[in-house]
């Protein structure tokens, strides 16, 4: 009996579990998945909570609803991986051995990495929306807020879902307009990047959206600390930006377990082959999703494309062959732009987001880098797809590798 062990039952881990439970012969393979939490969060939905579009109930379901039959599920924290011994120590003192390991332990925010960020104003005037607690606290705050300076700050890259901060300010513009108080709210987008987004063409188009929506932009801003007393953020080169409410995207890091295992970089992300998704230095360990150091976006749609590649490569490797499938860095993101519209971008390692059309059999086409109602419906539809198809590892009508069809150069 061979053993496949999956660490983490978030988006990526659950997809892999479902794909392999269906594929691998249960007489030959034992599959185990470990996660410390029993609740699955639909993380793309967190963005909508502060604006009262979704509530907490809309984004949570029990993880067990998505586990197939015939697999072993262990609810426990993970102490560490001992990759040379092919075993994993759990916090419930269990020791698991494996033949093959898939690490899918994700990434999370660490506000304590920045001086004063998790200080006395935390969840009073400083909020995150990358946790359900933060998003819900912010929804309560906004309900009674009378306006002032709203500053959104990205602490450092990389972050999960790099478009979410932009969507946040677009939705804030829409939300405060609809509440008739947009003139009382000054929205300021403060980023360490040289533009509104990571890639040049999209950055310039999305930057235009910011100015059209009267949102000010400060680039190349690297926050050093938060001055809680005077409600200001201060950069390493001492530029001060005052706020009445600070929406922070704190430093994103991989799990501490990765550090304890000695398998991570300085942000606890796992050095992983960009193309095969095998962990550098090991021939029986794969990593997928937000826990890797890949230069692709950290997002569920990306993990979904990676899942198809990992699946093929895993089957090659267990047959003693070289992994043949190559992940191309494909990301496909619906960007909510407010007022019931959205923008779609589609890109990979080599091709930046381009304008044009995105064909999708049966539903599309969607417009790329343009604001349309159709793109908004795409985003809203995605929640249903996520719960009903994606997590269960079912086929979606989207190719894992990016296609140039419809794109304008």
């Amino acid at each position: 009996m061979k053993k496949l062990l999956i660490l983490g039952a978030g988006t990526a881990g659950t997809m892999m579990l479902n794909k392999f439970a269906k594929e691998l012969d249960s007489n030959e393979w034992g599959i185990t998945i470990v996660d410390q939490h029993e609740t699955h969060y639909y993380q793309p939905g967190f963005l909508f909570i502060p604006f009262g579009i979704y509530n907490k109930k809309d984004v949570i379901k029990p993880k067990r609803d998505f586990f197939p039959r015939g697999v072993e599920v262990i609810v426990s924290g993970i102490d560490k991986i001992e990759p040379k011994e092919n075993r994993v120590l759990l916090q419930n003192n269990q020791v698991l051995t494996y033949d093959y390991l898939i690490v899918a332990t994700g990434s999370k925010i660490n506000p304590k990495e920045t001086e004063g960020l998790a200080g006395e104003l935390w969840q009073k005037s400083i909020f995150d929306f990358y946790t359900v607690e933060g998003a819900v606290a912010l929804a309560d705050f906004f309900k009674h807020w009378e306006g002032g300076k709203l500053v959104l700050n990205i602490t450092e890259m990389p972050i999960k879902c790099p478009v979410a901060p932009l969507e946040f300010v677009f939705l804030a513009d829409s939300y405060f307009t609809e509440r008739g108080m947009r003139d009382k709210v000054d929205i300021h987008f403060v980023t360490p990047l040289p533009g509104a987004f990571t890639k040049p063409k999209a950055s310039s188009i999305l930057g235009d959206f910011l100015s059209k929506k009267n949102i000010s932009l400060t680039t190349e801003y690297n926050i050093a600390k938060v001055d809680n007393e005077n409600k200001k953020i201060v950069s390493w080169d001492e530029i001060e930006i005052p706020f009445d409410v600070l929406i922070t995207i704190p430093t994103n890091m991989g799990d501490e377990m990765i550090e304890r295992s000695g398998m991570g970089d300085e942000l606890n992300f796992i050095p992983t082959d960009n193309y095969t998704l095998m962990v550098d230095g090991y021939d029986n360990i794969f990593a997928i999703g937000d826990c890797t150091n890949l230069p692709s976006s950290k997002a569920g749609s990306v993990a979904h494309f990676q899942a198809d590649i990992l699946f093929e490569n895993f089957l090659d490797v267990i047959d003693g062959r070289e992994p043949r499938a190559k992940f191309d860095g494909h990301a496909n993101c619906y960007i909510e732009s407010g007022f019931g519209k959205g923008i779609l971008i589609d890109f990979n390692y080599d091709t930046e987001p381009l304008p044009g059309k995105y064909p999708l059999p049966g539903v599309g086409p969607f417009s790329l880098l343009e604001e349309t109602k159709m793109n908004h419906y795409g985003k809203i539809m995605f929640r249903w797809i996520y719960w009903n198809l994606l997590l269960k590892g079912k086929e979606l009508p989207i190719e894992s590798n990016m296609s140039m069809a419809g794109k304008r150069l």
Partner: protein
């Protein structure tokens, strides 16, 4: 592909405007690259960072991120920003003749 003229030599640049061939680099070129980044003179601390960057590049095959820099170069974040204003990792990589660090996507 764009190029830069330093000391009578034409050097190739990559898409980010960093040296395309790290073997083209020498200390004289670093001083010129620094000037084009607005740093008139490279002091001992600048060199400590630049040499550290090149050492990591040889060992790891990539320029280190700002976090790795502060953790290991012996120069703290505050000082790094004073030495290389705006983007210490990006700027010091450029002056060290290395490609842009991977974290700066």
């Amino acid at each position: 592909m764009s190029t830069i003229e330093i000391g009578g030599k034409t050097l190739e640049l990559d898409a980010d405007g960093n040296l395309a061939n790290i073997s083209d680099w020498n200390e004289e070129i670093a001083r010129e690259l620094a000037k084009s980044e607005g740093i008139e003179e490279l002091n001992e601390s600048h060199w400590q960072v630049i040499n550290y960057m090149r050492k990591v590049f040889v060992e790891d095959g990539g320029a280190p991120s700002i976090r790795k820099l502060t953790k290991e170069s012996g120069v703290n974040t505050k000082e790094l920003y004073a030495l290389f204003p705006n983007g210490p990792a990006k700027k010091s990589a450029k002056i060290a003749g290395l490609p842009k660090p991977k974290g700066c996507i």
